[in-house]
Amino acid sequence: MTALLDSLLELIRRTSAEIPDDVQQAILQSLENEKKGTIAESALKIIERNIALAKQKSQPICQDTGSILFYVDAPIGFDQIHFAETAREAVKLATKKGYLRQNSVDSLTGKNDGTNVGPGSPALHFHQHRNSTIEVRLVLKGGGCENVGAQYSLPDEKLHANRDLAGCRTAILDAVMQAQGKGCGPGILGICIGGDRATGYELSKTQFLRRLEDRNPNPELDRLEQDILSTANELGIGPMGFGGKTTLLGVKICAANRVPASFFVSISYMCWAYRRQGIALNPATGTVQSWLY
């Protein structure tokens, strides 16, 4: 086994089995906030126990090990083809070992060949940068939360949402409302204001690479993030939609330019089982230099 294959396999294992620290902190905090003796509190207690058990047993936190999304930042001259081949190999191996469920289905025939490798799986996003470092981030995003994602085209007459930040706020809160508990809340929203239908969703998902406690450098977006978070948590949807104080754990928003004719707000919902990890690789050997979260 090459060092790169080894590193990617370990990245997949750890992403699937271990919740990142920032997310765990947020879940513990929400457990403290919930009213004692409620079903919301008992749901969060089971979630807390599940996180500990998955780590201890090195088993998937959630059986839906999700869409496999790699984000790779690499220097000029980096061999993307070799990386992609190795990543596919690592995914196959991880599936054999049970770190990933046999989770990839041919959309036309309905066949699941059990490898998790096929058209579009895993998804690989490469970004070139001028540093010498190689950073690989992985997000495993389950289908339940993916299904409650939503894209709004503003103006939206039914929602009275115009092409401004107030309109974006209305659309985002509508998405939270529609999702209720179906996306395995408490959830985290990744949002892109602008872009086209494809880039809007793509960029909304890159927001999941941010740490939960970070703040948006753009003051307007920062205000919107804080506002949506506190407003959503007053709606009483709660963990699993059982009612309660914690509907969202975080809101992350970016903006992209749009064409004058379009104004999309693209909202991706991440479940509490927020599986995101990353590694910095030694460029010479392919071994793991450090963990990014």
Partner: protein, 195 residues
Amino acid sequence: MTPLQAPFTQEKIRALRVGDAVEVSGVMFTGRDAVHKYLHEGGSLPPEVNLRNGILYHCGPVVMKDEAGQWKVTAAGPTTSIREEPYQWQIIRDFGVRAVIGKGGMGQRTLDACREHGCVYLHAIGGAAQVLAECVKRVRNVYMMEKFGAPEAIWELEVEAFPAVVTMDAHGGSLHDQVLAASQAALARSASSPR
């Protein structure tokens, strides 16, 4: 916490109310998208799959074979139930299911079928694959594996103290409807007093 031992009598199921926390023990069968569509289209179940007075669990588990060749469930949380809304009422009616376990809740047709036929919807904790896998004491069998693949196959599981919450009862009560209405009212209040 109410312990529930499958199979169930209708009386036992009708005694449950929205908001009750339960712990389920006994046999359950998994069935998700492919199985529901198949049954809706008139497909028949293998004779060993007896859902009468039993449990249908919306779940696509991770199952591995151990060294001895025994199946072992290594992750087994619920999947989103609303996708089965077009089919569930019919399966409750035709197969005599007493408890559907899943997540996210279901709609009016399922709620009506629960009331009419004496069935409840039990909400498990979505994503809690390890806690719930621990409750699976044995895999008794698997059916239709060839046809549907591992996550979509019908797994016959023996469980102990599987935690869930009654969110739709056999009297027309739905926690999902209650929370939706309350959150809509809260949102309307927040919209009328913007920050």
